[in-house]
């Protein structure tokens, strides 16, 4: 017969529920891993990106010999890792003679590969080489700004794809409310040529401008690198259609709740007749402990049986 396995404790249950498909999703988690050969430069690239996304990221530091995202059968273990770590974005670094400093961006839908984009990394400058005032250093987990520059991002198919992937990779969770104090970094991505993109990461310094809008100043904090377009794979149209479904914006009308400027949220409650007259009132309420109830009852009975011990009254004390 079938057997069920249920979460053993409430914490485990909550963790599983957090992973389950939801109407409004959590931010996508990123998995960073490398192949059997990975150059020192590329390892630095991966580490730096891990530093940028540390709040929602999993880093694998061992070699992975059977991960080849573009090849048939090479995605099996990747999909398994995605399932285990609950990551739907991944970054895979490898180095070969044919494709030196190779970085693959990938996205997952339902723990299956959705699309892939392969770039070569050039002119990499790591984060620790930038010197700047540490006060303006971006905080981990703050919502980033994006600036995409260049006509190619609109005309070249590969770069349209890359733009979407970079946005998905770095944007973090979709939020409703934003604290303006937390606006502290920006990714500047410029398409220098149809095959090459300059990726920069800058901190924002807000200066007084005399108006309510501060003057923005960019300070490069790294990493910076050139991404050279290599292979890419677009999503399967049918999967894309399914993945792009959104929650309908016409939310259900909420009844009996109104908002007031002064009072705030106001709700109307309609109570049905409570039938207090016909309600059964007993002393053994489930909320009370049975032992206490029984002890109380015993005490009462004992008092009834031998009422010699009377509680002291005022008269007795006087006497």
């Amino acid at each position: 017969m079938l057997k069920t396995r249920v979460a053993k404790n409430h914490r485990a249950k909550r963790a599983l529920e957090n992973r389950a498909p939801k109407l409004v999703e959590n931010g996508k988690k990123t998995l960073i891993l490398e192949g059997t050969k990975c150059s020192a430069v590329l390892r630095e690239v991966l580490t730096d990106i891990y530093q940028l996304k540390k709040d929602n990221c999993v880093r694998f530091t061992r070699k992975n010999d059977n991960v080849r995202p573009f090849e048939g059968g090479g995605e099996t273990s990747l999909e398994f890792f995605s399932l285990k770590t609950d990551c739907s974005l991944f970054l895979y670094g490898s180095h070969s003679k044919k494709r030196p400093n190779n970085l693959i961006f990938g996205r997952m839908y339902d723990h299956h590969i959705y699309d892939l984009f392969e770039v070569g990394v050039e002119n990499f400058k790591r984060m620790s080489l930038f010197s700047y005032d540490r006060k303006i250093a971006p905080k981990i987990g703050s919502k980033p700004l994006f600036a995409f520059i260049g006509e190619w991002f609109e005309s070249v198919e590969e770069l349209i794809h890359l733009k979407e992937i970079l946005l998905d990779l770095f944007r973090g969770q979709v939020i409703e409310n934003l604290n303006l104090v937390g606006v502290d970094h920006v990714y500047v991505v410029s398409a220098i040529s149809p095959k090459k993109v300059l990726f920069m990461h800058c901190a924002l310094r807000l200066k007084r401008s005399g108006t309510s809008v501060p003057r923005m100043e960019l300070v490069e904090v790294g990493p910076s690198m050139d991404l050279v377009v290599r292979r890419h794979r677009l999503p399967n149209p049918s999967i894309k259609k399914e993945a792009m479904k959104t929650v309908s914006k016409h939310a259900k009308k909420i009844k009996n709740v109104s908002h007031d400027v002064i009072d705030g949220k106001i709700g109307k409650i309609y109570m049905p007749d409570q039938k207090v007259g016909s309600m059964v009132l007993t002393s053994d309420v489930k909320g009370l402990k049975r032992e206490r109830r029984e002890a109380k009852a015993n005490k009462k009975n004992a008092f009834k049986e031998n009422p010699t011990k009377k509680p002291k009254t005022d008269d007795e004390i006087k006497a």
Binding site: V6, L145, F148, L167, L178, L180, S190, I192
Partner: protein
């Protein structure tokens, strides 16, 4: 300024700004110039988004001004599928068909047995087995049957049946991928989410061959006299074959077996032959012996002098004295 802003595509939900009209010169002279150009353009774009951001209505929070962001306009794919609706259980289906509606029952019921108000379900409930001292006999009762035992068995079967129904409903839910996330059906080892059917593992060619080979050689004659199937290959032999050499000497050929053993014997015999006399060792032994003898002589001399001196120093001093 307004015209400029219109040139940019701004997605406030993702805090993204995109300038589709900017064209980079084909050959930037140096990297510094290129990055500076990007930074300048980036500053312009960021300013454009900041203008919009800081002009949105904000309300002051303890940690700073909070603004409400609009929904992202760039469509990005979901991470997982939408939660699938749970299918109706068999009872729910039946109730729907018959138009049966849930009626709320009181939690408290009056128990005739104990003449008391009791819970409907759970511990200390109405008509609890423990509270029934007497069961009246009916005409239909079979003689020799324990009515109390019968009650217990009936209750047990009801519980078992309900458990079976529950599992059946869970199985149906898992078919449409709508199992509650904290429940797993162990028999199928379903993944947490996503549609991954675990296919039974197929044995490959080599595994089949090795298994067939094992079966074929599992007879008393190690499969020597068994009939071979068409296309069946002999099993691969793992390990070394031992080779026996002829013991007797034939005409015009050496006794190979004897030669082999001789060879091994010679090897062993010759191993110690080189270092029968180790000159270095002999010399050092000779020296040590001489030294020891001299030491003994000196010891006897110092004991004659009658003075107690520490041993280590006495040797040196006496030697010095003797040299003077």
């Amino acid at each position: 300024m307004a015209q400029e802003e219109n040139q940019y595509h701004i997605d406030m939900g993702n805090l993204m700004v995109f300038d589709p009209n900017y064209h980079f010169e084909s050959a930037p002279s140096s990297r510094e110039e290129l990055t500076q150009e990007c930074l300048n353009k980036g500053t312009e774009l960021v300013q454009a988004i900041a203008n919009e951001l800081f002009s949105l209505p904000s309300h002051e929070d303890r940690d700073g001004p909070l603004i409400k962001l609009p929904d992202p306009s760039t469509a990005l794919p979901r991470e997982k599928h939408f939660p699938r609706p749970k299918p109706l259980t068999k009872w729910e289906e039946f109730a729907k068909k018959k138009g049966i509606q849930n009626k709320k029952k009181d939690k408290r019921v009056f128990d005739e047995q104990t003449q008391n108000w009791k819970r409907r379900h759970g511990y200390d409930r109405v008509e609890d087995d423990n509270d029934i001292p007497i069961i009246e006999a009916k005409m239909t009762d079979e003689p020799g049957e324990d009515p109390f035992q019968k009650r217990k068995v009936e209750k047990k079967t009801r519980v078992e049946k309900q458990e079976k129904n529950r599992l059946h409903n869970l199985k149906n839910a898992s078919k449409v991928d709508a199992l509650p996330s904290h429940v797993q059906l162990a028999a199928t080892s379903l993944p947490i989410s996503g549609r991954q059917k675990v296919a039974p593992k197929k044995a490959n060619k080599h595994e089949l061959e090795s298994v067939a080979g094992l079966a074929a050689t599992a007879t008393a004659s190690i499969g020597k006299f068994d009939q071979k199937l068409p296309g069946e290959k002999p099993v691969k032999h793992h390990g070394k074959f031992r080779k026996f050499l002829p013991v007797v000497q034939g005409k015009g050929m050496v006794n190979e077996e004897r030669e082999q053993t001789d060879k091994i014997l010679n090897k062993f015999m010759s191993r110690g032959s080189d270092d029968i006399l180790d000159v270095n060792k002999a010399v050092s032994m000779f020296k040590v012996k001489g030294e020891n003898n001299r030491r003994k002589e000196r010891m006897t001399e110092s004991s004659k002098s009658g003075k107690l001196k520490p041993k280590g120093k006495s040797l040196k001093k006496s030697s010095k004295k003797s040299s003077h």
